[in-house]
């Protein structure tokens, strides 16, 4: 369908509006992270003098927020990766069963998963705090990984089950007739089709764990397990009267980078449409 000049113009306007709306806060934080403390209240968007000071403060060898930020970064990466891995493995197995097998209670599993995921996080966090303290999970990695699973598992199961349903399972049979063992048929015909779905799900699960704040701040007390979003709340300025806005912005930029890198790396796998053309298109 060819667009008329007028339609093209409107699309351009809408695209620009959406881009500005989505990217303005990002640029704002990026700009702030390069500002000097005195520059923060100047009311200008771009820094008057560009400086790496905020970054050295959180990452540099003798930065004041270094001891707060670096352990938090390590916690965030470790906890999110482990939570994602467990969620994806469990969700893949569950979704495979849901998509391919007929068993009693199938709908129950799906609705329960949905029910769990619509529970407000804040309503669970207080009881969890008490239980975790009494059984010794408070302020540990496991203490965060478990509640993260309750957030990531349902959505992973739902997206993967939907994805698996679209896979033309006939291919498995075709491969067997072509001379493959059941294992080969699964590996050569199904896995390449399932992989993009699993990647996408893993990314979603990772972002959920990576971005969590409520669990992070409630279930930790030291740098033993505190993730970055929670740690940011503990940043302080040089003095009591000085806002740590610059350092927080720099930290925010740093934790955004892995997300961007992941999206760029797996962009190709995320793009769906790989299954098109296997069956009648």
């Amino acid at each position: 369908m060819a667009l008329t000049g007028r339609q093209k113009m409107w699309w351009a306007v809408i695209t620009v509006l959406v881009l500005v709306y989505a990217l303005f806060p990002v640029f704002s934080i990026l700009a702030t992270s390069f500002k000097l403390p005195g520059d923060l209240t100047s009311g200008r968007f771009l820094p008057t003098t560009w400086t790496w000071e905020n970054y050295t403060q959180i990452l540099g060898p003798d930065g004041s927020a270094r001891d707060l930020f670096l352990p938090a970064l390590r916690n965030s990466i470790g906890i999110s990766l482990i939570a994602t891995l467990i969620a994806v493995v469990l969700a893949t197995v569950a979704a495979y069963a849901i998509a391919r097998l007929d068993f009693p209670g199938k709908r129950l599993v799906l609705t329960t998963a949905l029910g769990v995921s619509i529970f407000p996080v804040i309503s669970i966090v207080t009881p969890l705090f008490n239980i975790w303290r009494s059984i010794g999970l408070y302020d540990t990695w496991a203490g965060l990984i478990i509640p993260y699973l309750s957030l990531t598992l349902p959505i992973s199961m739902w997206t993967l089950a939907a994805f698996f349903r679209q896979i033309p399972w006939e291919l498995e049979q075709a491969a067997q007739v072509d001379g493959a063992t059941p294992m080969q048929a699964f590996r050569k015909a199904i896995v390449p089709l399932a992989a993009p779905g699993v990647f996408t799900t893993a990314l979603i699960a990772f972002f959920i764990a990576w971005n969590d704040f409520v669990y992070g701040i409630s279930l930790t007390s030291t740098s033993a397990a505190r993730p970055v979003p929670a740690a940011l709340a503990f940043f302080t300025g040089e003095s009591y009267f000085e806002d740590p806005t610059g350092a927080i912005s720099a930290a925010a930029v740093v934790v955004t980078i892995p997300v961007i890198v992941l999206v760029l790396l797996f962009q190709r796998q995320i793009v769906a449409g790989l299954t098109q053309g296997a069956v009648k298109g």
């Binding site: 049979q173 067997q176 007739v177 072509d178 001379g179 015909a189 390449p192 089709l193 053309g277 069956v279």
Partner: protein
């Protein structure tokens, strides 16, 4: 290449319902056999049992004289084309065709694989698409890739599961002749499942008609059309379908809804002492009485009928004549119609006339037919009473001979072309 023997094959599902019931069928080496029947008759299940994707509940399946009931699909060495093509979307056309060869691990060198894939792609005119992904191909091209994947392995037999049902009408016609040509040339044993009777009639050396899991008749297309064994086969084969009319014996006449047919020796012998029979007349057995040659006219019967609707198709003209059926056979005919995927609509006579006929909607027409072309069926058992076994055998034998000659010619031509190419 090999023969396939089905020996009292039964398939029962968990609820004990036999989807395929006691089917025995010998498929000779190089033969093209069609499994046909209305939806749910068990034809696809039977095919999937042959290829090994469904377990056989009881009975023996032999390929090339070896019992293969318990062999996994990959050990049966059969190639199958699926209804949805089942191409591997992440592989190029080339790799899709090469897939079965690559699985054999070391049996073929890369150059062998390459030459075989290119042979297949040339045969199917896929050369320019080898590097494309299935998603970027048209339906007909995907269909050809699926066939390429089947022929590249030089398997014992080809199995087709309604391969053309996803194509539009024009392409279906083209691919149908393509499959026929390919099979003549390769002379590989082929089992082909379809519900389309044009495919069944044109492609098969022999056609096996299935009804609710039970094999009704296996014969050459001509024998099926001329000498059906029962009401079901007669109603299923032929388009438009055979007309079924109630026939009551009164004295020396057989009384049909429109006309009294004097009983000749053949009909009298067939009917015996029955009072009520079901009479089957093919639409093309009728003629417009005005255009029937005088010398022919005497041998048939003429009758008047009010034509309700006509359909002019260029090469012929279909006229529809509604009639009231006899309540004694009505229920049976309705049940048969449902089984043949019909809707149990009004009972009407379908008449195929010459396209030059001047009969139009609402006309009162005088129609003619020859009682010698009439089939008679027993209303209880639904068996054909007029079937001539000797004649059927003769037609089958003739078809087999014609087939042998065609195969020999196709081989000669292929050899000539190969010689010219090299």
């Amino acid at each position: 290449m090999a023969s396939i023997t089905l020996n009292h094959i039964v398939k029962k599902y968990g609820d004990g319902f036999p989807a395929v019931n006691d089917v025995s069928l010998d498929i000779a080496d190089g033969e093209f056999v069609i499994l046909v029947g209305p939806s749910g008759c068990g034809k696809s299940t039977l095919l999937r049992m042959i290829v090994g994707l469904e377990d056989i509940t009881s009975g023996d399946l032999e390929i090339g004289g070896k019992r293969v009931n318990d062999l996994a699909p990959r050990h049966r060495d059969l190639a199958m084309v699926f209804q949805n093509y089942a191409l591997y979307p992440h592989l190029t056309v080339y790799e899709n065709i090469a897939f079965p060869l690559r699985l054999t691990k070391g049996q073929y060198t890369d150059t062998e694989i390459d030459s075989r894939v290119r042979n297949a792609s040339t045969l199917l005119e896929l050369d320019e698409h080898l590097e494309r992904k299935p998603a970027n191909l048209s339906g007909g091209q995907r269909q050809r890739v699926a066939m390429g994947r089947a022929i590249v392995r030089q398997a014992q037999a080809f199995l087709f599961d309604e391969p053309l049902s996803n194509l539009d009408a024009k392409l279906r016609g083209q691919m149908r002749t393509e499959i026929a040509r390919l099979q003549r040339r390769l002379a590989t044993t082929t089992v082909y499942v379809t519900h389309d009777q044009t495919e069944a009639m044109t492609l098969g050396d022999r056609v096996a008609v299935l009804r609710r899991g039970v094999l009704q008749q296996v014969a050459s297309p001509r024998a099926l059309y001329d000498q059906p064994v029962n009401l079901f086969v007669a109603g299923f084969i032929g388009s438009p379908p055979m007309n079924f009319l109630p026939g009551r014996v009164e004295g020396t006449d057989l009384v049909l809804p429109f006309v009294r047919v004097p009983l000749d020796a053949r009909l009298r012998a067939a009917i015996g002492d029955r009072e009520l029979v079901i009479v089957g007349i093919r639409p093309d057995a009728f003629e417009d009485a005005d255009v029937v040659a005088q010398d022919k006219r005497g041998s048939g019967v003429t009758f008047d009928a009010d034509v309700d609707v006509t359909e002019w198709l260029g090469s012929e003209l279909y006229a529809y004549v509604p009639f009231e059926t006899d309540p004694a056979v009505q229920q049976q005919l309705e049940e048969l119609d449902r089984e043949l995927d019909g809707e149990g609509m009004r009972t009407q006579l379908v008449v195929a006339l010459d396209s030059l006929s001047t009969i139009r909607d609402g006309d009162a027409a005088t129609l003619w037919f020859d009682p010698a072309s009439v089939h008679v069926f027993d209303p209880e058992s639904q068996d054909s009473l007029t079937r001539d076994d000797e004649k059927a055998a003769a037609i089958d034998a003739e078809a087999a001979q014609a087939r042998q000659r065609a195969t020999a010619r196709a081989k000669e031509r292929a050899a000539r072309e190969d010689a010219k190419a090299s």
